[in-house]
Symmetry: C2
């Protein structure tokens, strides 16, 4: 476990500057292709790109259909507060221990084997290379927030080992080199073998690393595979063989490569893959499951493998951002409506079914049986980030926040070393059967270890999600103690300081310091849940504050102008549409962006979760807040006087002929904790959706 | 579609007699091994068996731990009434059309190929031979109820084609002959290849056919495979290789073979398989899934593949019936408690999960996502039939009746040509994705066509489930217009006539006619649901009538004595244990043994099932009966004045922050039909569990 030294932002930026390629400005700035450290990479005229260190999580700076443009991760410093704890754990514990796990499970030996440096057989599933790339992805974003010389050296060395196996053809994939060359890119292997998926993650990891370090070694290798191996041999032309991405991922990666290196053909290739190629017949079930192989614009609902579907939607939104194809935008909005009306858990998780790790039917959202793969919630956040870039609409940010604080945040233990693959909304440790018989919902390792490094890269890149710029100003998406040091699109430097105890508290003080007094708009996000929010600028209340929208504050901003936000933070019940079968007669408890849950170990002794109810009779619907600094790294706990059945359900028959009547209950104190902290103590039953009584 | 000629019972028996092997009594009688048409088959001293035509569905006549003994199928004639329609359809439509399907899908060509009579490749999955055997099973029982010369000839011919491929070693399985000999009985193929499963179904089908016809051709072939191929090579001895049944089935088949031919080693072999052989290491997940491979007596709950689990329980109960091993009885009762307390649908279906066709966690009983495979409900009935034989306890018959009228009966369309593989308890045709993209829940064919012939054999053998004999008298298990012509265990001939309109009506008139006045006990079953039932003998009311028990009526019975039963038949709500997540706040409606459901097409125009509620306020809880002779082959429909949401749920958000309050409803007429008739008209939404309101 390496321990990172915390350095000031100033120190950090000067270190970045000294370690970066020559000729690059140390200070973030608008710099165009001509300033690029990679001569020849940019095709000015089709895409103009920012210098590497100015590119955000997605680089929409030159995307013609992006209303919002990313701010680089390094432009935002997250300070002592809610996310700093998670991110400190991520860099100090999660990333290092995951590297050890990857080594122990032979993920790097897979590369070494091919150059004679290891005699171990290929380990892990055929997509194991992607584990390494996703980990590098996490490292890349992390290196924008703190200097980690040892981590940098280790990763550089890993990258050298990866690129060492690249064939002269450009091909690079440990599973399909050597003895499996003959299987490479067959229809069957394209459908199941994840070759394009691994390439996509190589590109994404490489781009993250490049944007942090200016080192394009891995990106060059990825681009070589695209340009020398894929494009000459695969594509829509008669002399090319068809491509099926199999597990979507390559689409968004290709477009991000275009956004980094400027070659338009990468967008075209992504478009071709998103459209599908009908020269190969694909089974209808596979088209559903893979969420590819048929024109993306023919989709009408979310279905099939949830991560595949979310990644396909990411790629399709990226494609829209570059092309403005209205059919894509229409389809994306149809699918998004399906997401928020019929397919998303209250935690922002998606993918109801363990079978095929898939979306279920409309409103099929079981709790204990929820799959809610961490990767799928992350895919949901990534997709909504792109929809937000395209539209500037707060409804997409609401989904990002919902997923981030709940269905994603739950995926990593508080100590940063154990991960949920599934994120159910109810849990019975007696019934649970985990991977390979593990009794634990959180495990340090999965042989399919897609989720852990995915969470790591999400936490690493998080600062990049706090702000965007637009033609006319600045968007504030997320709230936490933090500082922005960036500039508006007209070049005016701007700093923004956030002071808050969000999400535990609803008041946020923003201090805006433009380099000079200037007229522009600050769009502050009012979450959809924040009915009754108030906003004041320099102490003067704003009218027309609407939940679920960005409040545009247009004025001449002067240094040290203040924006105060106040969001109501009482705990409230959330009801689901009655079509959600398991949630009838139940509520989830939400406080701010946080969905709460009950863990049995917090309840009165002998009270089973199956037997409790929230009480919504006239005088009993209160939830009392209590901040507990020493519990689960510091959380607001909720207390409520509810009820418990006098007769325990476990002792009763499965079916009984009865005249329905409210069951007899006795009053009990119920305790709720935020969903994301569940399963960090001894195994215990958990539920998000709690029955309620009204009499 | 052959049309069967209905013949009188007298005509039928004389036909049986003339077509049977010489020396066999035409009239059912207690006849022992010495009367067998198969000299040498019986090993007197280890098992005494009845003559073939006197053996019931399971032949427990000589089972030392059986309290109840089967009555042969031919001893009971089901007359015009509820089951006669289904059984007429079964013999006239289902069995013939299924034979055509089997031919069309190459199931017989698989046999012909091996003797050079077909050049078609092997068709269907590796267990396809079992489809043929299960169909023969259905034919066998059917031939006890009506004379079907053409069907008999066809089946004889099929049997000749089957036995023609038997190798000199005794081996017989189309999938593992010819080019797949080397795979035969490897550990992998024992686990997944269903070789023992196919042998088990061959034996069961053969035994059914033998018990109907006296023709032992197929049974001899099966016994040869057991005696010449299996026993010399496989078993517990050091010179034998281990056996894993993979898909339990062989266990009960071997014991039934013993009950037919008297070789004790078949019981021992079943016991060895039920115990498992630790010489081969089996993955723990496989032990769960396969429900074999570890000592049966180490099981503590139902889990894994539901049909495998049910068949294993059948075999284990058969083993108990022959050996009296108390550990088996203990385990069987533990598993049965798990069944009825935590794992069984209100329809008697089992197996909640589509993934692995498996039992879920305790109380995991989703409705729309219910798997409830028809075969699993049948396995449930078969297991409970064996538990009943061992104990004489009515709680087992309650499960039989529940499964039979609901979760099994739903599996075949009213026209007898389309089958449910899954039997969900809620359905949305817009969401449903059936096998190979079929939009239909009922299909004439499945490539895994286990369920259709399983339903056929169940309906064919149904008369055999109506009665049992015991040392001291006669048990009456099921009710329908019917007549019994059999004898008590002391040899006294007895006829029982049932006159009833059951299950539409609760009154049943039994007329008992012993050959002479004799003292014995008639045990009439009072269903568990029949609280308030009354019983009278020759008009004189009985006291101490208890629901869920057999009422013992001990007296000297004289010809034409009358027993009148009266069961309450009002429709009543059934509530599930609150631990069943989807059933909270809902009720199922039961009337007699029938579980009802709502189909959307029966409701007021524009009313979605998702929006309706049953009304249980003081004056509204009535269900009005209406017998509709022309609807769905004649059913009692239930009418109820319930409510529908004023605001349709489909138009509402997925989540809303609300103070829970009863939703506004308007009164609507709700219509219920028996669950078994669902999906026999145009596709329509369906639900068994209906929300209720109490205010």
């Amino acid at each position: 476990m390496s321990s990172s030294k915390h350095v000031s932002r100033r120190q950090f930026l000067s270190t970045v500057a000294s370690s970066a390629a020559a000729g690059v400005l140390a200070r973030p700035s608008l710099s165009f292709a001509s300033n690029s450290p990679l001569p020849g990479f940019f095709d000015v005229g089709t895409a103009a790109a920012l210098a590497w260190q100015d590119q955000g999580v997605i680089n929409t700076a030159s995307s013609p259909y992006a209303k919002l443009h990313s701010v680089p991760v390094r432009a935002v410093t997250i300070e002592q507060g809610f996310w700093s704890k998670r991110r400190k754990t991520n860099i100090e514990r999660s990333i290092p221990t995951m590297r050890e796990e990857l080594e122990q499970h032979g993920r790097m030996d897979n590369f070494r084997r091919l150059v004679g440096k290891s005699s171990e057989p290929q380990k892990g599933p055929y997509f194991s290379d992607s584990d390494i790339y996703k980990w590098i992805d996490g490292v890349g974003w992390a290196l924008q927030s703190s200097v980690q010389p040892e981590l940098r050296r280790t990763t550089d060395s890993m990258i050298r080992e990866v690129v060492a196996i690249q064939e002269p053809s450009g091909y690079l994939n440990t599973y399909y080199q050597n003895d499996r060359v003959s299987l490479r890119m067959s229809q069957h292997d394209q459908e199941v073998g994840h070759e394009m998926y691994c390439l996509g993650h190589m590109l994404q990891g490489a781009i993250a690393y490049y944007r942090a370090t200016g080192d394009s070694t891995l990106m060059d290798a990825g681009a070589r595979m695209v340009d020398n191996f894929v494009i000459p041999n695969y594509g829509p032309e008669p002399n090319q063989k068809p491509i099926i991405s199999g597990h979507p991922e390559i689409e968004m990666a290709l477009i991000e490569l275009y956004r980094t290196t400027g070659k338009r053909q990468h967008v075209d290739l992504a478009g071709y893959i998103l459209h599908g190629d009908d020269r190969w017949k694909i089974e209808p079930e596979r088209i559903v499951y893979m969420f590819c192989g048929t024109p993306f614009t023919s989709r009408t609902k979310l279905e099939g493998h949830a991560v595949r579907a979310m990644y396909a939607c990411c790629g399709a939104t990226d494609y829209y951002l570059e092309t403005g194809d209205p059919e894509y935008w229409k389809t994306l909005n149809t699918l998004w409506e399906d997401l928020v009306k019929r397919q998303m858990y209250v935690t922002g998780g998606v993918g109801a079914r363990a079978q095929w790790e898939a979306f279920g039917d409309a409103y099929e959202l079981p709790n204990a049986q929820a799959y809610g793969e961490s990767c799928a919630a992350i895919g949901n956040m990534m997709w909504n980030w792109r929809m937000l870039a395209a539209s500037g609409e707060a409804k997409f940010t609401d989904v990002i926040e919902r997923a981030l604080y709940n269905g994603i945040n739950s995926g990593m233990s508080l100590d940063g070393t154990r991960y949920c693959y599934r994120n159910p909304l109810a849990f019975d440790p007696a019934a649970f059967q985990g991977f390979r018989g593990s009794p634990n919902i959180r495990n340090p390792w999965y042989d399919v270890t897609c989720c852990p490094p995915n969470i790591e890269r999400t936490f690493s890149s998080l600062p990049g999600y706090f702000y965007s710029t637009s033609k006319d100003g600045l968007y504030v998406h997320l709230y936490d103690n933090s500082s922005l040091d960036w500039h508006l699109e007209d070049g005016t430097a701007i700093k923004v300081q956030q002071k808050t105890n969000y999400p535990w508290d609803g008041s946020i003080a923003l201090t805006l310091t433009p380099a000079r007094a200037a007229e522009f708009t600050v769009y502050v996000r009012i979450p959809a849940w924040a009915n009754g929010a108030s906003v004041a600028v320099n102490g003067k209340p704003e009218s027309a504050v609407k939940a679920g929208e960005y409040l545009p504050l247009r004025r001449t901003w002067k240094p040290a102008d203040r924006v105060s936000l106040n969001f109501p933070m009482e705990a409230v019940p959330v009801a689901a549409n009655p079509r959600v079968a398991e949630d009838r007669g139940r509520v989830a408890v939400r406080r701010g962006p946080m969905i709460y849950c009950m863990e049995e170990l917090d309840q009165e002794r002998g009270v089973a979760l199956a037997d409790v109810s929230v009480n919504f009779s006239e005088h009993s619907r209160e939830f009392r807040n209590e901040y507990k600094a020493d519990l689960l790294d510091g959380i607001v706990v909720l207390h409520h006087r509810g009820g418990a059945y006098e007769l325990a359900s476990a002792s009763e028959a499965l079916y009984a002929t009865v005249n329905p009547a409210p069951r007899k209950t006795r009053p009990v104190d119920l305790t709720f904790v935020p969903y994301y902290v569940w399963a960090n103590r001894q195994p215990s039953a958990m539920q998000v959706w709690v029955p309620y009584m009204t009499t």
